[in-house]
Subunit: 261 residues, 2 copies
C-alpha cells in the first residue's frame, strides 16, 4: 500500500520508533480530515491517507467502512476521521490533533498551556460544527435543498451572533497571549490549535465571504496568524501540492450565496 | 467561600497535594456541568460548585461571568463548564471529565484504552449536542417556542436516525469490550465514560421516553451498565442528595411531548 504515502520531508520530525500513521477519512472533501492532515504535514511526518489509496491497494471507502464495521481489534471508532498508529486507534478530530501535536512538537510542553490547547482545539471544533449546521440544520441525511428555509434562519443567527462571538473570542485569546511574544493562540510557539484556526478561517471565508469581510477589521491578530501559518515552509509546500483538497460544496464549509447575503 | 464545598467522603481518593477543584457552571440546571459533577462525586473528592455558592460569598452567576470576562490570569475559557484546579484552567466538558478521570482513578491506565476513553467521551458529547439541538435547531438565543416547527423536523430525524445509531454503537462497544469482563465501555473498570453514559441515558429517557422505550430491547448491556453505575455507593449517595439537580425544561434534555410522539 504505497500510494498515498507521504514521504518524510527533510527537516521534519525524525522518530525511528514512530508508528505508521494511517488517517481514515472520506476522500473528495477536506472535511474534518483536513485538520489532521495539517498537523501531519506541518510536522513533516509520513502518513497514509487511507481514503485516497486505491481500492485495489486496500484503501478507499471500503477500507474506511471495514474499520467502522469493527474489522480491527480494539476500540471501535464511531465516525471518521480516525487515526491508526500502530496498536492505537483514536477518533474525534480535536483529540487526534492534540495527541499528534503532543507527539510531534506541535503542542505546548508546559501543563497549563497544554491543557488549554485541547480546550481551544475543542472550541474550534464547536465552531466547525456550527458552521456545518448552517447548511444542515435539520439532518445530515437530508440534502441542503430539503432544508433551505431552516438553513436561511440558522445561517442568519450564525452570521450575526455565533460567528462574531467565536472570532472575537479568538482575537481576545491572541491578545491575552501576546505577553509570551509568539503571536499564537496558546503557549510560545505554533501549535495544532493555530493550524486548525488557519483551516477554520479559510473555511469560513469560503462559506461566508461577505460576513467575514465585515468582521475583518475586528480580528487583525487572527488574520496575521493565518498568514503566518500559511507561510510555514512545510505547510506552504503542502498547500501547493496535489494532496491539498479545495473547499467544495460537499464539505463542511459550503458557499451558498443565499446564506451569506 | 465555604458553602457548596463538598466534604471528602470517607473512602474517597486521598490526595494531600490535590488542588482545590472549582467547577464553574450555571446554577439551576444539570446541563453539561453535571457530567463533571458525576466524576468528582464518584471519586469522592471535595469541590466547590461556584455557580451555587451565594453571590454574597463570591459565587453565583457573577463569579462565572468574571471568569469568562478574563478576570483570572491564564487561558480564557470560552463557555461553562470550566474547571479551575490550582493554576490550571480547563474548559470543554469531555476534556474536563477525562482529565479528572485520569487524576482520580476513573480512567484506564493503559495507553490504548485511555485514548479510547477520550474518543468515547467526545462521542457522547456529540450525542448530547444533538439531543440539545432537537429543541434548538435554529439558535440557542431563541426560545423553543420560536423554533417549534424546525424542532419537530429535527427531533424526528434524531429519534429515527441518530438516537438508534448512537445507542447501537454504544451497545456494540460494550459487547466488544466484554472480553475484559468488566461490563464497561472501555478498559476493565468503571471510568468517566460510564458515568457520562449514565447521565446521557437518563437525560434521553427524560426527553424521549417513548423513543427510548422502543429502543430498550436492543440495548440490554447499556441498560445494565446504567443500573450498575447508579448503584455505586458514592454516586447513589450523591443522587439522593440535595446537590443533585433534576432534569428540567431549561436544560439540555427537555421533555416536550410533541417531540416524542
Amino acid at each position: 500500500m504505497k500510494a498515498g504515502v507521504r514521504a518524510a520531508t527533510l527537516g521534519g520530525v525524525t522518530d525511528r520508533d514512530a508508528p505508521r500513521y494511517e488517517l481514515y477519512y472520506w476522500p473528495g472533501i477536506p472535511g474534518r480530515g483536513e485538520f489532521v492532515r495539517l498537523v501531519l504535514e506541518d510536522a513533516g511526518v509520513p502518513y497514509v491517507d487511507i481514503g485516497r489509496v486505491p481500492e485495489a491497494e486496500g484503501g478507499g471507502v471500503p477500507a474506511i467502512l471495514r474499520l467502522l464495521a469493527g474489522e480491527r481489534a480494539g476500540p471501535l471508532p464511531f465516525a471518521p476521521p480516525a487515526l491508526v498508529a500502530g496498536d492505537l486507534v483514536l477518533w474525534q478530530t480535536a483529540h487526534i490533533c492534540h495527541w499528534l501535536g503532543c507527539r510531534l512538537g506541535l503542542a505546548p510542553t508546559e501543563e497549563g498551556p497544554r491543557l488549554a490547547a485541547l480546550s481551544l482545539e475543542l472550541t474550534l471544533a464547536d465552531l466547525v460544527a456550527e458552521a456545518h449546521d448552517t447548511h444542515h440544520p435539520i439532518a445530515g441525511s437530508l440534502y441542503y435543498e430539503d432544508q433551505r428555509e431552516e438553513a436561511a434562519r440558522r445561517a442568519q443567527r450564525f452570521r450575526e451572533e455565533r460567528l462574531p462571538r467565536f472570532l472575537s473570542y479568538l482575537e481576545r485569546t491572541l491578545a491575552r497571549n501576546e505577553a509570551r511574544g509568539g503571536g499564537v493562540l496558546v503557549g510560545a510557539d505554533v501549535t495544532h490549535v493555530d493550524l486548525t484556526s488557519f483551516q477554520v478561517l479559510g473555511g469560513l471565508r469560503h462559506a461566508f465571504p461577505k460576513a467575514c469581510a465585515r468582521l475583518d477589521p475586528e480580528i487583525p491578530r487572527l488574520r496575521a496568524l493565518r498568514e503566518r501559518v500559511g507561510a510555514r515552509p512545510r505547510l506552504a509546500a503542502y498547500l501547493a501540492s496535489e494532496r491539498r483538497l479545495a473547499f467544495n460544496e460537499s464539505g463542511i464549509f459550503r458557499h451558498y450565496p443565499e446564506l451569506d447575503p
